[in-house]
């Protein structure tokens, strides 16, 4: 499987009055054609910053992509001029967000917003735009697309707005769709509709998807591979089935245990003690060591590097074993 996008050693820092926040440190990964890669992590893990960095949407200042190489269609996205990266954004790599209302312009109709994408990126003639917009809306399951096209974002429900944003993202048939918490703001029955839609469109157009989420349920149901991030670093990566069946990093284990709820009726939930360290007071060794049940002296002194404990299973933990525990 050839990679659609390859990321090497990406580091993004934010300069603040309290010091430098290393939001993403030395992150590498690749997404294959038609593959769904999930990045899962809690708040402050850096997962959204990764999504923004790939499209060079990190606000500078205070943010800065300090290192890395992002290979997409034979070019390094981090080297491109502003004009060239604009050409990639929306056309070759599209992005959808948690908050569709913020992504849509409230004073333009749905037709005008989607039409703008078609005109700008595809150079579609004005007389063909209306028909194409209706076609896109129909594709994402918007009912009565002709009427909806003339409406404004505030006329639409949350699920409909999300569909309109997906229609916009798909307008140019991108190679890669970055979905940053696409269903977090939605109710569970609507979330099911939207995840279902993303899955079917992905299959239809052969897109690769980078899914940023905190929800392990969403990961289990939609992704092929998953990267677990903690405090700006990848701590584990692998096929979704492998990670869920046999997590090797203590943090991944803790997350999965904490998410197992129905099965622990009556009993107490497994908790991960403590909280994510402040970005200004990162521990010296492994950033998970203060919360880790398995930590020993070396973990508190030295940062563990990622190493393959099995083919395609990098884990950043001194204690992680090659064989299943």
């Amino acid at each position: 499987m050839s990679a659609v996008i390859e990321v090497w050693d990406l580091s993004v820092h934010f300069r603040t009055t309290l010091g430098v926040v290393r939001a993403v440190e030395g992150l590498s990964f690749a997404i294959g054609e038609g593959e769904t890669m999930a990045i899962v992590g809690e708040s402050g893990s850096g997962k959204s910053t990764v999504a923004h960095a790939l499209l060079r949407l990190v606000p500078d200042p205070p943010g800065k992509i300090v290192a890395g190489h992002v290979r997409f269609e034979d070019q390094n996205l981090l080297d491109l001029s502003d004009a060239a990266i604009r050409h990639v954004r929306g056309r070759r790599i599209a992005m959808i967000f948690q908050d569709a209302m913020a992504a849509l312009n409230p004073v333009f109709t749905v037709e005008r917003q989607i039409g703008e994408v078609l005109r700008l990126h595809l150079g579609l003639a004005p007389d063909r735009i209306a028909a194409e917009v209706v076609e896109l809306l129909r594709l994402v399951g918007v009912p009565a697309p002709e009427a909806r096209a003339r409406q404004y974002p505030h006329n639409l429900s949350g699920g409909m707005r999300q569909r309109v944003m997906i229609a916009m993202a798909l307008a140019c048939r991108p190679k890669l769709l970055i979905a940053d918490e696409p269903t977090t703001a939605l109710d569970v029955t609507v979330q099911a509709q939207v995840l279902d839609l993303i899955q079917s469109l992905k299959a239809r157009f052969g897109m690769a998807v980078l899914l940023i989420t905190h929800d392990l349920g969403v990961v289990a149901e939609t992704a092929h591979r998953v990267i677990v991030m903690y405090a700006g670093r990848k701590v584990e990566e692998g096929a979704v089935t492998d990670i869920f069946a046999d997590p090797r990093h203590p943090y991944t284990r803790g997350l999965l245990e904490a998410a197992k709820r129905e099965e622990t009726e009556g009993a107490f939930l497994r908790e991960i003690p403590g909280t994510v360290p402040s970005p200004f007071e990162m521990p010296k060794g492994c950033s998970f060591a203060p919360r880790c049940p398995d930590a020993f002296d070396r973990c508190r002194m030295e940062m563990p590097e990622l190493r393959d404990v099995a083919p395609g299973r990098p884990v950043a933990c001194f204690a992680a074993q090659g064989a299943s525990r």
Binding site: E42, S43, G141, P143, A144, A147, R148, S157, G159, M160, D187, V188, T189, V190, Q191, A192, Q193, L195, D196, H214, D215, L216, G217, V218, V219, A220, E221, V240, T241, F244, A245, G254, L255, L256, A258, A259, K260, R261, E262, T264, E265, F268, L269, R270, E271, I272, P273, T275, V276
Partner: protein, 342 residues
């Protein structure tokens, strides 16, 4: 739950309507936030209220607390009708009935120290001298897993999980029998959620507090509650023991809701028989006639469009559906979810 358990909280035919005026000459319309809610809560029990946005679950929390005035019906706390209790009586009521909100960033006064926040209800309900009050604050903070050093701190210095612990300590300060938890962990990270949930369970075990636990997280609700009430458009549509509901869901909406919740197990992801509902929750301004769920129900028939089903006993629970509990329902050959209607 033994049937003799004492009822600490009861709602009878609770109704809350919000009038909305959309324009100067437009006729006033009514949001049907709650329509005839009946429920009871036993001492030391956890009753979960689940449903999607707009189902009325948060309005229910506010009405039970008398933070919203119900339009109709009764609220009984510890045997006392508090539906029309005045200011003084309300203060007494809040000794027994406390609330923890979703957003620990909005529910704590940013100018107050943690000590002052937790001491406030003590000042209101008990006459203790400064020293005794301070000791009690430290004791309460210890109960929720925070050290005495937190007394001097301010909310902005705390993480979300720590703030929610403070909110719980404040709720405990009055020594309540009932705490209404309105999405208490939704704003927290998964690893922190488990900490707060375990704290709530420990407090229930040690202090016998009953919870009304309002949440949209179905997995969590199944973990923490003894009974679950499912709401849709201002009505309870199914209420059952958690164990019974885990085994079988009788109402088509409950079935769809539980099947839609993503499960953190890729082995089940493919095999799960997911029911994807068409469309979205209709506006509570104009709830559909007949059964309120008929516009999205894959099994709706003519009767459902014409006649509103009552909440009736079916098997081991109450359910608001004409057909639920009948043999052969839902039909074996599921009709495909209809195309989404606007």
């Amino acid at each position: 739950m033994t049937p003799v358990a004492e009822t600490v909280l009861e709602a009878r035919d609770l109704v809350k309507h919000f009038p909305v005026k959309e324009g100067l000459f437009a006729p006033a319309r009514v949001v049907h936030a709650l329509d005839g809610i009946n429920l009871t809560l036993a001492r030391g029990e956890t009753l979960a209220i689940v449903g999607e946005s707009g189902c009325g679950k948060s309005t229910l929390a506010k009405c039970l607390m008398r933070l919203e005035e119900p339009t109709g019906g009764r609220i009984v706390v510890l045997g006392e009708d508090v539906t029309h209790a005045g200011k003084r009586a309300l203060r007494g009521l809040r000794r027994h009935l406390q609330i923890v909100f979703q957003d620990p960033y909005a529910s704590l006064n940013p100018r107050w120290s943690i000590g002052a926040i937790v001491a406030d209800p003590i000042r209101l309900h008990e006459s203790l001298d400064r020293r005794a009050r301070r000791d009690k604050v430290i004791e309460l903070l210890r109960t929720v897993g925070l050290g005495p050093e937190f007394v001097e701190r301010h909310p902005h210095e705390l993480s979300g999980g720590q703030r929610q612990r403070v909110a719980i300590a404040r709720a405990l300060a009055a020594g309540p029998s009932i705490i209404i938890c309105d999405e208490p962990v939704s704003a927290l990270d998964v690893s922190i959620q488990a900490q707060v949930i375990n704290l709530l369970k420990r407090l229930q075990r040690d202090l016998g507090i009953a919870y009304v636990f309002i949440s949209h997280d179905l997995a969590l609700v199944q973990h923490i509650s003894d009974r679950i009430a499912v709401m849709y458009l201002g009505e309870i549509i199914e209420i059952a023991d958690t164990r019974a509901l885990r085994q079988r869901r009788l109402h088509p909406y409950t079935q769809a809701l539980f099947s839609a919740a993503p499960v953190a197990d890729p082995k089940l992801a493919g095999s799960k028989n997911r029911i994807i509902l068409a469309g979205e929750v209709p506006s509570p301004l104009d709830p559909p006639a007949g059964c309120r769920f008929h516009t999205r129900c894959p099994y709706a028939e003519a009767r459902c469009r014409a006649e509103a089903p009552p909440l009736r006993a079916a098997e081991d629970r109450l359910v608001r559906c004409h057909f639920a509990g009948e043999s052969g329902f839902p039909p074996a050959r599921v009709r495909p979810a209809r195309e989404i209607e606007s």
